[in-house]
Every structure is written in C-alpha cells, then in structure tokens.
C-alpha cells in the first residue's frame, strides 16, 4: 500500500496501477521465504494435527483412521486426567506468575535506583539463569534437590534440622515454582528495567518538587508508567505456565511417583502420543490446550486493555 502511495508522489510517467502491481509482486517475493517456512513448519503441521484430532484410531483397530467429528474433544474435556492437569497448571499460574512478577519488579526498581558498579553486576547475575538452557537448569536443580547429593541436608543440619524432601509429592509444587522463578525472573527483570530506563527523569524531578518520597515515586509514577511492559510479561508468563512441560518432564527422571506422566496437559499430550501411540487423541489434547491458552490470553489482554494501551 505504501508502495503505491510513494509511486504516485514520485509522479512518474507510467500509469500508476501497473507500477504498483509490479512492485506488489516483488513484495510477495520478499515475503516468500518467511511464508514458505511459516506454511511448511507451522500451518501445515497445525492443519494435519487438526485433521488428526477429528479422526480416531484405537490400538486394537490399528491402521485405519475413522472420522469421529468432535468426539475426541468431548472426551478431552471430560477426561479427568486432562482436567486435573489443567487445574494443576492453573494453580501454577496463580502462584508462579505473581511470584515471578513481584520479584522481577522489585529487582528492577532497586537496580533502577542504584547506579553503582554493584547494580551492574547484580543485573548480570540475576539475568544469568535465563541464559542457561531450561533442560540443563532443571537437571541442575534435580541434583540440588537430591536428598543424598544436594546441599539441603548440610544446610539444615547446621541448625539441627532435617531437610525436607524436595521431590516428595507434597513439596514438588514448590520445588517447580522455585526452578521456574529462578530461570525467568532475570528475563522479566531486564524487560521491566529497560522500560524504566526509557522514562524521562524530569518526571521524577517534578515529583520530588511536589514532595513525593522514593517509595511514592516507585509505586505511583514508575509502576503506572511501565504498565504496558508489565502486561506483556504477564502474558508471556501466563502462556509459558499453561504450557508447562520442560521442568517437570526433566525432574520426572528423579521423581517418577511425584510427577506422573500426565502431570501437566502438555506432558499428558506428549506421553499419549509417543509413549502410548495415540497420536489422534494427543493432537486433540494439544489443540484443546492451545484453545484454552488462546482464550486465557485473550481474556487477560481484554481486561488489561487500558494498561497495555491496546484500547
């Protein structure tokens, strides 16, 4: 569109529509590399998965896909295992997202106020866990949580206590929250920090002249001014948590009882496909989860449309 406008302004002798269409043709060529990759690796697999989710093939009736319409979806949304997994990730969202956001926000506000070398080092240190691949991070925490190899027993022993078993079914929830928080806080902190740096310092001066204290500046001025970044990271955290997979899947190798193969909806879909060879039902689970993630994100963005500037 902008191409045809500029052509008109340039005022060449040729009829504008012809040039415009030729230039648009080239536009398609530019988009093509992306479009091809997008189609081959995203649209086609999604379409195939959708097709699979509408068909069924039991183990005992191997080899034949039968069209079953929405049957698989009815089964998924009445499947106690799937619903239990969903409820579990919703609980993770309710705990993990606020914890991560609060820690990241506090760290960013502190680092924004300090301008010493210490703050630069701290910024890096908080960010480093994000640079560690999620699988490695989870493996590492698996060792730290280990009753035999982990440091917990030594630490608790110093004050004469027995360390809790971090991998028991009662504690695994908190252990996982800890891993994810450790991994992602740095990333969110950097986003918030960058947003804070882009605020014009003269606003703070004005606030100080009006008699605002440091805490008031932080809570009444800084936080409202970065609300669109906050909305963005909450959406990231929300989507990531609903799709929770890597950390529990890795930790499962050392806590199979506490983390069953259907712990989260994504893990359930993975096990259903690759361990139990039910690719059709697994596609249904994946689509159902995708739909719920979409709805969840949409609702959140709708509710926060004022803060995010979408309105």
């Amino acid at each position: 569109m902008s191409g045809s406008k500029s052509a008109v302004r340039a005022g060449t002798a040729q009829p504008t529509s012809k040039i415009a269409s030729r230039r648009q043709r080239w536009g398609y060529v530019y988009v093509a590399p992306f479009a091809v990759v997008f189609a081959v690796f995203l649209v086609l697999p999604l379409g195939y998965a959708l097709w699979m989710s509408l068909h069924n093939k039991g183990i005992a009736t191997a080899g034949r896909n039968v069209f079953v319409g929405a049957d698989n979806y009815v089964k998924a949304f009445t499947d106690p295992v799937f619903l239990e997994g969903l409820w579990r990730v919703v609980r993770f969202v309710l705990v993990m997202v606020p914890v991560q956001i609060v820690v990241a926000l506090v760290a960013a506000l502190l680092l924004d106020t300090l301008a010493t070398r210490l703050s630069r080092v701290s910024r890096l240190l908080i960010f480093v866990p994000y640079a560690i691949p999620a699988v490695i991070g989870a493996l590492m925490w698996g060792f730290l949580y280990s009753p035999r190899f982990g440091p917990a027993q030594d630490v608790f022993g110093l004050v004469g206590l027995t360390a809790p078993n971090f991998l028991s079914s009662a504690n695994i929830f908190g252990s996982l929250v800890n891993i994810v928080t450790w991994q992602w806080v740095g990333y969110y902190m950097i986003i918030i920090y960058a947003a804070l740096r882009s605020i014009d310092p003269s606003i703070y001066e004005a606030a100080v002249l009006d008699g605002a204290g440091r805490r008031q500046i932080a809570l009444r001025i800084k936080v409202p001014m970065i609300s669109s970044s906050m909305v963005m990271i909450v959406v990231f955290a929300l989507i990531g948590t609903l799709q929770f997979f890597t950390e529990p899947q890795v930790l499962r190798s050392s806590a199979q009882g506490a983390i069953p193969s259907d712990y989260t909806p994504n893990m359930y879909a993975f096990a259903t496909a690759f361990n139990y060879s039910q690719f059709n039902y697994a596609s249904t689970l994946a689509f159902a989860l995708g739909f719920l993630v979409f709805v969840g994100s949409y609702v959140f963005l709708f509710l926060t449309r004022k803060q995010s500037g979408l309105k």
Partner: protein, 450 residues
C-alpha cells in the same frame, strides 16, 4: 527505479534460494533406510546394507565383528536412544509410515506393543522357527506366538540376589533363602544395629515389580497375537496381592526403603552400604560395577532369589532384549539374517559378555564351559553364572505382556507410589491398576476378559 527494483528482485530471489536450500537440508534426514549414516565403519561398501537400532554397551565391537565376517551383508548401526527413547522414535516412525530401521532392538516386554501395530515381521517365513532349540525355553516363549516368531532373543535377565556378605557377617545374620527368612533377616539386621535398609522396593520398578509378582504365579495378561483385539486383564489377583502386602508390611515397619529406581540417589545407595541386598537380574553385576562412590570394603556375593515355596522354586526374569525386523524394511530377508546372525557366534558373544555384561539366551554360549566357569572378581571369584543365574535362566518359563505395556507400567508406578505415600493397602493399589487398564483397553477397542 527499474534497476533498483530488479536488483531487489535478485536479492529476494537469492534469499528464497537460500531458504530453499535450508528446507532441502532439513528434509534430507528423512530419506530411506539405505541412505542412513552409520555410526560404525562399513567394511564392504558394495554389500547390501541393513540398518540396525540398538543401545547395547560396546555394541560397535559386535557390529565390526559381523561386518568383518560377512561379505554380502553389512550392518549399519545407530544408537537411537535407550529403551523409551528408542521406542518413542519407533512409534513416530510407525505413525509416519517411514523412518524405521530394518532391524530394531526391543525389550521382550514391548513386543506385543509393537506386534499389534503390525510393525514387526513374522520371522518364521525366514527360517527363524528352526532356531528354537538354540535358545532358552523362556526367552523363546517371549518372542513367539504359536508358529509366529516376532524377534530373535539376545540377552536376558534371570533374577538372583546380590548381597553384601560383609554386612551380613558384621551383624551376624543368616543369608535368607525364602521370603519369610528375608523378612526375618531385615528385622534381625535392624535389631543388630544396621542403620540402612535390607533392600529397596522402588515404586517405579515396573518390570522389577512384575518379576516379583510373577514369582508367586501372577499372570496379569492373556494376549494372543492371533486374536489381536482380545486381551485378558487380571492384575488384581490374590497372588499379586500376597506379594505386594508382604512388601507393604516391610515398608510399614521401615525395614525396606522406597527410593525410586535408576536415579542418582538410588545408584549411590546401591553401592555405599545403605542397602544390604540388591535383588538383581543377571545384568545387575555389570550395572553395579559401573557405579561410582562404591564402598571400598564391600564384599559382594550372589545367591538365588528367595522363594515363596522352597519345595517348588519359581524362577523369574527381569529385562532382556531381542532383535526384531520392522515391516517398513524393504529387504526383510537380509534384515532377518542380520537379526539371526549378529549374536550367533562364540566370538560375538564373548564380546557381549566381556564388554557389555550381557546374559546370553543363545544356548551354545550359555552352556559353554567358558561361560559357566567364569569367575567374577567383583564377587571375590565366585562363579555366579553357574551357582546362581544359570538355574534361574533355565527355570524361566516366559511371561505374557500386554499390548499397551508402557501404559500399564505408568499406571502401576502411580498406584504403588500412592500406596506408599497415602498408606493405602495393597489390594486397593492393585484394583486401581486393574480398573484403569480395563477402562483403557476398552477405549482402545479391545474386548476385555477379566
């Protein structure tokens, strides 16, 4: 303007070409079996190549031996992961209809899982049935179904009891030969001041727990590949309940640990003196020797698995693998030859025994003087094959697994964990598994008999 548009066009075309190359590179990996890259070196480039997936330790020496002794056939070997990792890839290849190797290493327990997907070739067409007498009766029963033979047995896991002679001696406790004596020994060790546990009962033991139940006559599944849509499920039988109640009693008295198997913690506990006994398969000694942080004073010895009824001893098996030919293979005859001949010489088996600590199901090796007479330095020179595991191997009569074994194991792990964690009884745990499996099998289109 024209020039610049054209130049940009060239740039765009170049970008497209680059991405097209990228795509082509991506799709290159999914070519036919013949184009696969091998981990090993091919000795006869002109010979027919057969692709093999396997995860045996030091398997390359066996592959090299095969390739050096065959001029018309060459093995192209890939390690596609151990156990579940390999099965995941195979499941995906089956669903995709392409990508499976010619020959695949499968544990005997998952054979029905794959025969029902019609992904394994009946090797009786390629002369496998004549090999029956070369293999132990139990292992042959695990790979065959009537006249059909779905795999060639390789190694097995006849079970025995590995114990710390030094611990039993220190606390002056008799080495048990029956499960009653075993429970008493557990209590005696505790009373004498032993701080560890006599052994571990892992709730994620899967095939290990199956073997313990099977020793008491448990037959959870009736499945016949001839009638692939019918399955009998009888998990919550009195035999299993008796065994599980026995272990639950020991757990309740804190005489037996309940650590998950095959974790780093469990590995350390096996060798650092936390457990006095390791109930093990014949591959267990090799596993133990590979673990670090071992107790330097440990004196390991092997004894037969304790029995429920010493008058009628029952031998059981834990693990063991086979070679099967996939239906995706375009050269099933060559593949069948490879499956049959990879492990059918003394030389190959010596490599398997010495390098990989495998337990042969191939009788010429199993019954050879060399193998029976092997002295195990780790066991103070004890002839553990002859004294313990040979009887176990010969006494094993086979076991019928379900066509959804991975699911069955996952259900059992969950139920046993809940039993320990929430202190419910053995009967509840078993009936939970039973109900879950019946529901699952019905959903999958099976006719279920209980």
């Amino acid at each position: 303007m024209r020039t610049s548009a054209r130049r940009r066009g060239v740039a765009a075309a170049a970008a497209m070409a680059v991405s097209a190359v990228g795509l082509a590179a991506c799709s290159g990996g999914s070519g036919g079996a013949a184009e696969a890259t091998c981990t090993n070196e091919i000795k006869q480039p002109d010979a027919t190549q057969v692709t093999v997936w396997a995860w045996y330790p030091s398997f390359e020496t066996v592959v090299d031996h095969f390739n050096e002794t065959h001029t018309d056939l060459q093995v192209c070997w890939t390690n596609a992961g151990q156990g579940a990792d390999e099965y995941n890839k195979f499941q995906t290849a089956i669903e995709a209809g392409t990508g499976a190797p010619d020959v695949i290493m499968l544990e005997a327990e998952v054979l029905p899982t794959f025969t029902i997907l019609e992904s394994l070739v009946d090797l009786s067409e390629y002369g496998a049935a004549e090999l029956e007498d070369d293999y132990t009766a139990g292992s042959w029963s695990d790979v065959s179904n009537g006249d059909a033979v779905y795999a060639i047995p390789v190694d097995g896991g006849p079970m025995g009891m590995l114990y710390r002679a030094d611990i039993f001696e220190e606390y002056d406790v008799e080495v048990p030969t029956t499960w009653d004596e075993f429970a008493k020994a557990a209590q005696d060790l505790r009373d004498a001041g032993f701080e560890g546990h006599i052994t571990d009962f892992p709730t994620n033991g899967a095939a290990f727990n199956y073997a313990l139940f099977a020793q008491n006559g448990w037959e959870p599944f009736q499945y016949d590949a001839e009638q692939p849509t019918e399955v009998g499920i009888n998990v919550d039988s009195p035999e299993a309940e008796e065994v599980l109640s026995y272990w639950k009693g020991l757990i309740d008295d804190d005489l037996v640990a309940t650590e998950d198997a095959f974790t780093t913690d469990y590995n350390a506990a096996l060798v650092d003196g936390t457990y006095a006994v390791y109930l093990a398969a014949a591959w267990g000694p090799g596993y133990l020797q590979g673990l670090s942080e071992a107790d330097a004073d440990a004196e390991w010895r092997a004894a037969p698995l304790p029995q429920w009824d010493p008058e009628n001893p029952v031998q059981v098996n834990w693990g063991g693998s086979t070679f099967a030919v996939t239906t995706q293979s375009e050269q099933p005859e060559a593949a069948a030859t490879v499956a049959k001949e990879l492990f059918n010489t003394d030389e190959a088996w010596k490599l398997g025994v010495e390098e990989a600590a495998l337990w042969p199901q191939w009788k010429p090796m199993l019954e050879s003087d060399w193998f029976t007479g092997l002295e195990a330095p780790f066991f103070g020179g004890q002839k553990i094959n002859e004294e313990v595991f040979l009887d176990a191997a010969n006494g094993y009569e086979g076991f019928s697994f379900s066509p959804f074994q991975v699911y069955a194991y996952d259900q059992q792990t969950q139920a046993l964990f809940d039993m320990v964690e929430n202190d419910t009884d053995a009967g509840t745990a078993l009936s939970t598994v039973q109900d879950g499996l019946v529901r699952y099998a019905t959903e999958q289109g099976f006719t279920v008999t209980e």
